[in-house]
């Protein structure tokens, strides 16, 4: 227990200290984590921690990240990307593999090892690149989209690679390995026995339970296809009732648990049939991209993804073997830079082929120039399958880690040096149609529902967030889109796109919840105007102090209308009733504003002397209203309709006659 707590504490301290500093320095969170890992590596070594096994656990962050990426991608968008996906991705992997293999053969490696090295180094780091692109808001740029296509292709390509690598096995290495007692055929989860090579997450065939091993090819294929079908069909038909059932319980943590269960379940299923869990969850994400639970899933999974990826980067930093590095400093650094240069050249050539322009070309060329976490996976797999000898793998591991470590530097180079040069010349493509609504409506009950209908009817796109499964059903039956979740949660309101919203309408119930949401948004997104619903007068003052642009008392307008109807029924002329209603509302708003100005949320009303004085004065002025003195509004409502008196007319006449010649 103490060991675990100590370990968790060390990792957390490292991350919490290093990342804000790195971000402040403009280095990005990834480099922050990597540095944190390097800093704590001696401590971890002292504690005897198996960094690599933690890394394999942390790789699950990549799975979650791809699930989140899938959630952002509707199937239609994915289909639209198919040319880029296959063309760019296929050529990148193929081209890089061939060139790296060539270099390795020139350096004297046999072709089998060279090919394996080529495959390992062709892959880029999905974790670093996607994280960085998202952080810097480059995901939607042309370069970002192209990078994403390549990364997605690589993630898919890992699967056939894992199938192919064992075929490269070298007989002499196999002899050596036979003593170690583990190899390609071992089907038991053998823990951490000896080498850490054969027991980890990403698409690992060798060391875990499998549904397909040992089956004839056609059966295995059938099961694999069946699993994918299950993910898609389950995603389409089962998730809605399932999530709805869980939502009924009204427990937030239960939804988080369900979301985790969902992701882990799919990852498990994919692993069982020998597919990449990252690919499986990505697919599930795509299926759920249109679901109304998307935002809630996003905000539930996102913290786990963040923590796991952070842990993953720390372990990459911590895993750097400085002894080995310092021993071969020149050659390893040389090979690392050589690799980055080579990958960049391939990417730039592809960028040229696919007509990426200006800054996008360089973003694409530099962003993907590192080797990636799948490289680690493949490396351990190649060692386990006796394709690459351990000592060579250790050096390659360093190259992969170093190239990842250098990636944030390349992004900084792009951001500070390259992008500014293209700001003016870059041609602007048509804006991406944003899935996020222009207006976020928090709460879709009796109040927000009407606002939503009105805005929709006038052609504005809205994003509705509501925590009531019944409301969602109703919305769906009308063909609306709405998202499930508690709008007072910062992460959900963030997922709903508050950053880019033109307006937030707070229509949820409950004073406390309204205040919490408004306060959060006013503090963190001061550029988003907020229209809020107030439950009573006092609440108006609170919201006014928080800086809402409009504050609507939820029952005020309907009450005034009721009063107006009463006046009409009592025989008042409808237009006079309208004028009285207008005057009343205007006067009431005047009082409200006067009071709001002297109200201070930090001082209780009973101690706020300015407030008490003001309220006394206003009350006195309006005593007549309260005690039903007749026609208090006459003077103001009929101003303008009062005919001139006879004296007025005579004065006009006299004036005219005086001027007459």
């Amino acid at each position: 227990m103490t060991d675990f707590l100590l370990l968790a504490f060390v990792f957390l301290v490292a991350g919490v200290v290093a990342v804000p500093i790195a971000s402040r320095l403009g280095l990005g969170s990834v480099l922050g984590y990597l540095i944190a890992g390097i800093v704590i590596s001696p401590l971890l070594a002292t504690l005897g921690v198996d960094v690599i096994s933690i890394q394999h656990f942390a790789e699950f962050g990549v799975v979650m990240m791809l699930f989140l990426v899938g959630l952002e991608l509707e199937p239609r968008m994915l289909w639209n990307m198919r040319a880029k996906l296959l063309g760019l991705g296929g050529l990148q992997v193929g081209g890089t593999t061939v060139f790296v293999m060539g270099v390795a053969m020139i350096l004297g490696q046999p072709w089998t090892i060279s090919l394996a090295i080529g495959l390992v180094l062709a892959l880029s780091s999905t974790a670093i690149v996607l994280q960085t692109l998202n952080e810097k808001g480059l995901m939607r740029s042309n370069g970002g989209q192209s990078s994403f296509s390549v990364l997605l292709f690589q993630d898919i390509a890992v699967i056939p690679m894992l199938a192919f690598v064992p075929l490269l096995a070298m007989p002499e290495l196999m002899d050596l390995a036979a003593d170690g007692g583990h190899g390609a055929g071992a089907h038991v989860a053998d823990g951490h026995g000896g080498s850490h090579a054969s027991d980890h997450g990403q698409g690992d065939h060798g060391a875990s339970i499998s549904l397909v091993d040992g089956l004839p090819g056609w059966q295995a294929a059938l099961i694999t296809i069946g699993a994918i079908g299950a993910v898609i069909l389950g995603g389409v038909y089962l998730t809605r009732p399932l999530f709805r059932f869980i939502a009924m319980a009204g427990l937030r943590e239960l939804f988080v648990a369900a979301a985790l269960m969902f992701v882990i379940g799919i990852a498990l299923l994919m692993t069982l049939v020998g597919l990449s869990p990252a690919l499986g969850t990505f697919l599930a994400g795509v299926v759920l991209a249109n679901s109304e639970y998307r935002h809630e899933l996003e905000s539930d999974i996102d913290p786990f993804r963040g923590l796991l990826l952070g842990l993953f980067f720390i372990t990459v930093g911590a895993a750097i073997d400085f002894e080995l590095l310092l021993g071969n400093l020149a050659s390893i650094l040389g090979m690392t830079f050589g690799l980055i240069a080579l990958k960049s050249l391939v990417l730039l050539a592809l960028a040229w082929m696919f007509k990426l322009q200006g800054a996008d070309k360089w973003l694409f060329g530099l962003g993907l120039a590192q080797a990636g976490e799948f490289g680690f996976v493949l490396l351990s797999f190649t060692v386990a399958n006796d394709v690459i000898p351990q000592n060579l793998a250790d050096q390659l591991l360093l190259i992969v880690a170093l190239s990842m470590l250098l990636t944030p530097g390349l992004f900084i180079l792009y951001e500070k040096v390259i992008a500014p040069r293209f700001v003016k010349t870059q041609e602007r493509d048509a804006d991406q149609i944003d899935e996020v609504g222009e207006v976020i409506i928090a709460g879709h009950g009796r109040f927000g529902g009407i606002v939503n209908r009105m805005l929709r009817a006038t052609g504005y796109s809205t994003t509705v967030v509501d925590y009531n499964a019944g409301h969602l059903d109703m919305l769906r039956s009308f063909g609306f889109k709405a998202f499930f979740g508690d709008a007072t949660r910062p992460d959900l309101i963030h997922a709903a796109g508050i950053e880019k919203a033109k307006l937030l309408i707070v229509a949820i119930d409950g004073k406390e919840q309204i205040n919490a949401l408004v306060l959060y948004v006013r503090e963190n997104y001061p550029h988003v105007p907020v229209i809020a619903r107030a439950v009573d007068r006092q609440h108006v003052y609170d919201l006014f102090a928080m800086g809402c642009v409009e504050i609507i008392r939820e029952t005020f307008d309907s009450s005034v209308r009721t009063g107006r109807s009463a006046l009409e029924r009592l025989g008042m002329h409808p237009f006079d009733a309208e004028l009285a209603a207008r005057k009343f509302a205007e006067d009431d708003r005047h009082i409200l504003k006067e009071m709001a100005l002297v109200h201070d949320p930090k001082i209780p009303v009973s101690q706020n002397t300015a407030y008490i004085e003001k309220s006394k004065t206003l009350m006195k002025e309006r005593e007549e209203q309260i005690f039903g003195k007749r026609d208090v509004f006459d003077l103001s409502t009929d101003r303008g309709w009062h005919p001139p008196t006879e004296e007025d007319l005579e004065a006009i006449l006299a004036d005219h006659e005086a001027k007459a010649p």
Partner: protein, 202 residues
């Protein structure tokens, strides 16, 4: 039988002397449609389709209003702006009102002397009514001499107001019964109570 619709527009009825009394009597005449515009559209949300249907169903359209700043009260102006659409009242295919009659029933605060070239209003009443006259013209409607009460604010003193109200009822009843010749008005022509009341004495 002519079908008459009276559009009555007065935003301050509480203080009205002449118009309210006129409206009360006119609304009781059998067989004519009476519309209190400010009661029907207190929030100026005029139902254009409904108003156009009403116009099609009537032969004589009466605007009854107090003269405000030499024009109609704002709601009646809004009514004209919205209801007399292109293609309905004028312009291409806009002949739906052709042959109908637009009659004005106006009360004015100033005396009849005030509405002369030498009076303090500096123009005749008909000069101020030119926009309405031309509106009728463009809509191919007849524009008979407007029925006008001058000095409406003083009218409570004398028999003049009673005369005007009686004359108004008489005028509307006669038009309804086709007993009044609706002709286009000449340049400065106006109708006053005595003109109408003298008809019944004949």
């Amino acid at each position: 039988m002519a079908k008459i619709i009276v559009y009555y527009a007065h935003p301050g009825q509480t203080f009205s002397r002449a118009n309210r009394a006129m409206a009360k009597r006119a609304s009781n005449i059998e067989g004519i449609t009476f519309v209190d515009l400010y009661a029907e559209y207190p929030r100026h949300d005029i139902d254009v389709g409904k108003e156009q249907t009403r116009l099609l169903e009537h032969d004589v359209i009466v605007f009854q209003f107090p003269l405000y700043w030499y024009s109609t009260p704002s709601l009646l102006k809004e009514w004209q702006d919205l209801v007399l659409q292109h293609g309905f009242a004028y312009g291409h295919g806009g002949d739906k009102l052709a042959g109908k009659t637009l009659l004005l029933a106006i009360t004015a605060g100033g005396s009849d002397e005030a509405y002369t070239r030498d009076g303090y209003q500096q123009h005749t009443m008909r000069t101020f009514l030119t926009p309405l006259e031309q509106t009728a013209g463009l809509c191919q409607m007849r524009f008979p001499p407007p029925y006008v009460l001058f000095g409406a604010l003083k009218a409570d003193e004398g028999v003049e107001l009673t005369h005007h109200i009686d004359g108004y009822v008489e005028l509307l009843t006669r038009i309804r019964d086709d007993k009044f010749k609706l002709k286009d008005a000449t340049a400065e022509e106006l109708t006053c109570a005595s003109d109408i009341l003298s008809l019944s004495e004949e």
